[in-house]
């Protein structure tokens, strides 16, 4: 019942007929009948967003080029990321102490890319935890994330060859309410005293409450989020923090899979492109030429 497979099947059965319906009839019903005047104004491309489309297209091309190169056997350098190296160290410490590992995948739903990516990292963490035969507790804030987390952790244990060690009762849905969830996680930290706390995902005002409670229990703490307003809180309260893009580099770094590392290389080249654009823009603005910077304005 708790597996993701029924969800996927349910989604397929629900979505496919509905998809056909929308593509044929639904769109016509939902859209108001265009008048002759409005028909003339209907556009198939928003020219105000041409700048975004071009930049995204350049980025996609760069990423695809590097994925292709990686597929042909090219190897790419990837710098050390202390926070990701520390994950295995933290799990090892929890194993030595005979205490569980706590993994909090943020408080957002699966429509947030950080939550999806947190599930990807959770898969890698589950493999490590299963190898060390250490309990892994995953409190979940969104009901939809429960089957994803269960299936991801179960697969991690299977991949490590320890399916019997998987305990479904350690994937715990607490509440959709932000501070009810925070209170629940704080309770787990104070009662079960995990030796390693991993906060990886989308966090908001609860970030410091969680991290400080974890600090008070003496756990080694690793956090990672792309919500920049919460980064200072994690930086001061956690032992390691994955800052922004480091969070999204986790699977490439941990798996060293060439195609995934290739996407990082694409991001690096895009950053170079943006840095050059920033410098050129700053120079042109200094000399009173504003057209270049205005082109980048998002409408």
């Amino acid at each position: 019942m708790q597996s993701a497979k029924p969800i996927v099947l349910l989604a397929v059965f629900l979505l496919l007929p509905a998809c056909v319906h929308v593509l044929t009839v639904g769109a016509q019903e939902a859209a108001p009948a265009p008048t002759a005047q409005a028909e003339g104004q209907v556009r198939w491309f928003d020219l105000n967003r041409l700048n975004i489309a071009l930049v995204v297209a350049v980025f996609f091309i760069l990423v695809l080029v590097f994925i292709r190169q990686a597929g042909k056997g090219a190897s790419f350098f990837i710098r050390k990321i202390a926070g990701l190296d520390a994950i295995e160290e933290a799990i090892g410490r929890a194993t030595e102490m005979g205490k569980p590992v706590l993994y909090v995948p943020g408080i957002d739903d699966v429509n947030n890319i950080q939550t999806i990516y947190s599930m990807v990292i959770l898969g890698n963490v589950a493999k490590l935890v299963a190898r060390y035969e250490t309990p892994l507790i995953v409190p979940v804030c969104r009901a939809f994330v429960v089957p994803l987390a269960e299936e991801t952790v179960k697969q991690g244990y299977l991949d490590s060859g320890h399916p019997e060690a998987y305990n479904p009762n350690n994937i715990r849905y607490l509440s959709d309410e932000q501070f009810a969830f925070t209170a629940g996680v704080d309770g787990i930290m104070l009662r079960e005293k995990p030796a390693a706390n991993l906060f990886l995902g989308s966090f908001f005002a609860e970030s410091l409450v969680l991290a400080e409670t974890g600090f008070s229990t003496g756990a080694i703490q690793i956090a990672g989020t792309a919500n920049i307003h919460q980064l200072p809180f994690f930086v001061v309260a956690c032992d390691y923090t994955l800052i922004g893009e480091e969070f999204f580099a986790a699977t490439a770094y941990l798996s060293k899979e060439a195609k995934l590392v290739g996407t990082l290389k694409g991001s690096d080249w895009m950053k170079i492109f943006l840095i050059v654009a920033l410098v050129v823009g700053a120079v042109l603005e200094t000399f009173g030429v504003t057209a270049f910077t205005r082109w980048f304005t998002v409408q």
Partner: protein, 206 residues
């Protein structure tokens, strides 16, 4: 097939949502809106799974008399009570459900949030201990910004608010935007990896 079908659905709908952002045509945006409504409906079904998870985890805890099992009793009672009054009494204004939400849950939630003030103080105390050059720079910048934000700062030195604004608007903003650009690129490339099926761990087992 168990992975290919979900990957295909992800690729089709993921690509469509990207297209929806750039194409203002009513037929495309209508499909996009419909898809988002479906997502809300599918997500609302998942609450059944959430309730089942709570009932199973805490029910087993009580039946096996596991550690801290008494805490599971009020949790399940609260769940059943709110579910009951919500279903049979409604959730609008002047209902028992709404009263419990406003007069029980909201104050407790506010209490948790207010802990933040104390945690900010304890975290700031630790991070402002000057043990390295970086920590020293952080402490000096923090003192200037804090003093620049309160009237006494301007009384001490009238240029302090201006310096505090400069720290916030120039070096702080530059660093923040650099992190934001990196995070945005990471998010876009992750989206692309998911649409292309390179990241598939989240789909679970074969």
């Amino acid at each position: 097939m168990k992975k290919e079908v979900p990957l295909l659905i992800t690729a089709i709908f993921g690509s469509f949502m990207v297209i929806d952002y750039f194409v203002p045509h009513p037929s495309v945006s209508a499909v996009g809106e419909t898809l988002q409504q479906w997502a809300i409906i599918v997500i609302s079904f998942s609450y059944v799974l959430g309730v089942a998870n709570i009932a199973r985890v805490n029910g087993e805890k009580i039946s096996k008399r596991s550690r801290d099992w008494p805490f599971a009793i009020p949790l399940l009672m609260g769940l059943a009570f709110m579910l009951g009054v919500g279903i049979f009494g409604g959730i609008g204004e002047r209902t028992l459900f709404n009263d419990f939400f406003l007069y029980a849950y909201t104050p407790m939630s506010g209490t948790m949030f207010s802990l933040l003030a104390f945690f900010i103080a304890s975290a700031a105390f630790r991070s402002f201990r000057v043990r390295t050059l970086e920590a020293g720079l952080l402490a000096v910048a923090a003192v200037i910004v804090m003093l620049g934000r309160v009237p006494v700062g301007a009384e001490i030195w009238d240029k302090l608010p201006g310096i505090a604004d400069w720290i916030n608007n120039v070096p702080q903003m530059a660093a923040k935007r650099a992190i934001l650009i990196g995070a945005a690129l990471g998010a876009i490339s992750t989206g692309l990896k998911i649409i292309l099926g390179l990241e598939r761990n989240y789909l679970g087992g074969e």
